[in-house]
Amino acid sequence: MIKSAQLDSDARRGLSQISLPLAFSVLLLAAPLAILLAMSFWTQDFLTLDRTFTLANFKETWTSPIYRTLMLRSLKISIIVTVLTVGLAYPAAYYMSFVAPNNRKAMLVFLITIPFWTSYLMRIFLWKVILGFNGVVNGSLIGLGFIDTPLDWISYNQFAVIITLSHAWLPFAVLPIFVVMEKVNRSYLEAAQDLGDTPFQRFRRITLPLSMPGVVAATLIVFIPTIGDYVTPKLVGGPDGLMIANMIEIQFKNANNAPLGAALALSALLLVSSVAGIFVWLNRRYLKAEGAA
């Protein structure tokens, strides 16, 4: 009936609790962000920064076809990876929370994170072995007589980037969904069934809306960092798999054009935040509609 928040002492408590993590972030991150922002309005000639204000970097970012192509490609790959990852993670989390016996849950959580304790570089090498020319997939397909010559569309392209990235982010998507599902009060499910829902209706009307916060968290956890990944496209992307982060990376390093890199990074940040924002908004609407129905 009455919310316990909104109080002076609570406000103080909230502030004091957040002060430590906030101070940590601000102290360490204020500089990077300020530098990034300032730099995006400057220009660089080899090693010399020209601190005259200009919008040229943003103009180049938003008009040059190469950046637009890379930006859209990154967005596309990130969205596919996110959908794939969250789509696969959801039933897995569902299994862990609703099907697996209680005393197995902890073990399952560890089980799905352990493979990710080996270096990413090693995993990429091994992915290439799996997807590669004489790799596990092709070898099996040839061995089974499905194909005669190795498929070459499964490595060194966007497909390989998508597979590798989805795999890498799976545990990060499973965990948030699992955590939320663990909190779903089991009596709601019984209530729904009691009120005449079929298992599927019950899933759609109770489990899914209640686990939505986890899906949102998982989506953001996968989507946001994926667009910034430059290692995977560099190592498995081949010529058509490069993403915007590769370009940002190059501008900051080899190309000695940090200002353009900053403008690209900020634009990518803007793009990611808007897409993430739209997603969160759509989700709210969905939950509202679900609640009203």
Partner: protein, 375 residues
């Protein structure tokens, strides 16, 4: 024990356990508590009654220490509670949701608050057993919390609070989640428990019947204010305002004009009933411009049989509707010169016949049973 307290109270000796003075509380611009003042006595069963949103839970949580007030003081046992956090207050609470810790057994829940007392295991177990026994859950200690029924959860919540021997037990609508039968059973159990322990109970409820049956005194709250604070009987008989009156069962409300006030007697003209002298004590917040009306409970009026026993007042009326309800019959009647239907309830006795619609009757009533209500 209770008898002693009652005597003390009669002698004006009972001690104040909780004193709330000038309490104001805002949520942003919403004025949640408006100048709340009241005393709650030691050993008293005190209820805060009101519709939802009236501020009763806020007031309870203010006593417990969960809400910070914007001005005013809370004293418990003679000590100011300013800056005293909930865990340091001599109060314990039974939450509306019961707040049973789901990861603990019943015994662990009950023993929860004992930890700071650093008792040995045997002593703790003994106290838990005793406390569970008091609430009728002997032998339930090893049950998992989530395996309990609603009534059992409530008992665990009680046992968990009572084991700490608080000076004040706060109950936030503890019975609202229970079914009717269980609720009635728990009402009497709570009452019995309170009597046997002698602890001050403060109960929040929106159910007037619950408040009337259980409490020594009830504070009726509307919109963040205490509208009336009195014993259940007085509240029923002498509600101070139309709102309070309507909150407690049926009351016939008729327009009234005060013609003259002499001391505590007001000569009043009541719609349809004529002029009568009614008891008058000005309500706080009322002034010369305040409007009043008169209220009479249906059971305090009678349809007079021919030549029946004398009533202070008699007024002719016409029956407009009859509703037979077994034990009672409700009649809607209209007085001459009034359009307001008035309900009269009559006990059905073996020799009493039902009246018919359209029949002319005489209504007997006492001027003492009519009350002046602030409009």
């Amino acid at each position: 024990m209770r008898a002693v307290l009652t005597k003390k109270r009669q002698a004006g000796l009972c001690r104040t356990m909780i004193k709330l003075s000038n309490i104001e509380k805002y949520y942003g611009t919403y004025h949640a508590l408006r100048d709340v003042n009241c005393h709650i006595n030691e050993g008293e069963f005190f209820s805060l009654l009101g519709p939802s949103g009236s501020g009763k839970t806020t007031l309870l949580r203010t006593i417990a220490g969960f809400e910070e007030i914007d001005s005013g003081t809370v004293m418990i046992g003679g000590q100011s509670m300013v800056g005293v956090p909930p865990n340091m207050r001599p109060t314990n609470m039974v939450f509306q949701s019961y707040a049973i810790f789901p990861h603990m057994s019943v015994a662990q829940n009950v023993a929860y608050g004992l930890r700071s007392q650093r008792l040995n295991k045997a002593k703790t177990a003994e106290m838990v057993r005793e406390s569970l026994g008091k609430v009728g859950l002997a032998g339930y200690g090893e049950r998992a919390a989530h395996a309990l029924s609603g009534g059992q959860r409530q008992r665990v919540a009680l046992a968990r609070a009572l084991i700490l021997k608080p000076k004040v037990l706060l109950l936030d609508e503890p019975l609202s989640a229970l079914d009717r039968k269980l609720r009635e059973q728990m009402q009497s159990e709570l009452r019995r428990l309170q009597r046997s322990l002698g602890i001050t109970f403060v109960l929040v409820t929106h159910d007037q019947e619950e408040a009337l049956t259980m409490s020594d005194r009830v504070a009726v709250m509307f919109e963040g204010q205490i509208a009336q604070l009195d014993s259940p009987q007085a509240l029923y008989k002498r509600p101070a305002s139309k709102r309070v009156a309507e909150f407690f069962g049926a009351m016939n409300i008729l327009k009234a004009d005060i013609l003259e006030v002499k001391g505590d007697i007001a000569t009043t003209r009541i719609e349809g009933l004529g002029v009568a002298n009614l008891a008058f004590n000005p309500q706080p917040g009322a002034d010369a411009s305040s409007h009043y009306c008169a209220g009479v409970r249906p059971e305090l009026m009678t349809i007079l049989d021919d030549g029946a026993m004398a009533y202070d007042k008699e007024t002719p009326a016409t029956v407009t509707d009859v509703e037979y309800r077994g034990e009672l019959t409700y009649y809607d009647v209209k007085f001459e010169g009034s359009d307001t239907p008035v309900v009269v309830s009559m006990r059905n006795t073996s020799n009493r016949e039902l009246r018919e619609i359209g029949q002319q009757v005489r209504i007997g009533w006492e001027s003492a049973s009519a009350v002046l209500l602030l409009d």
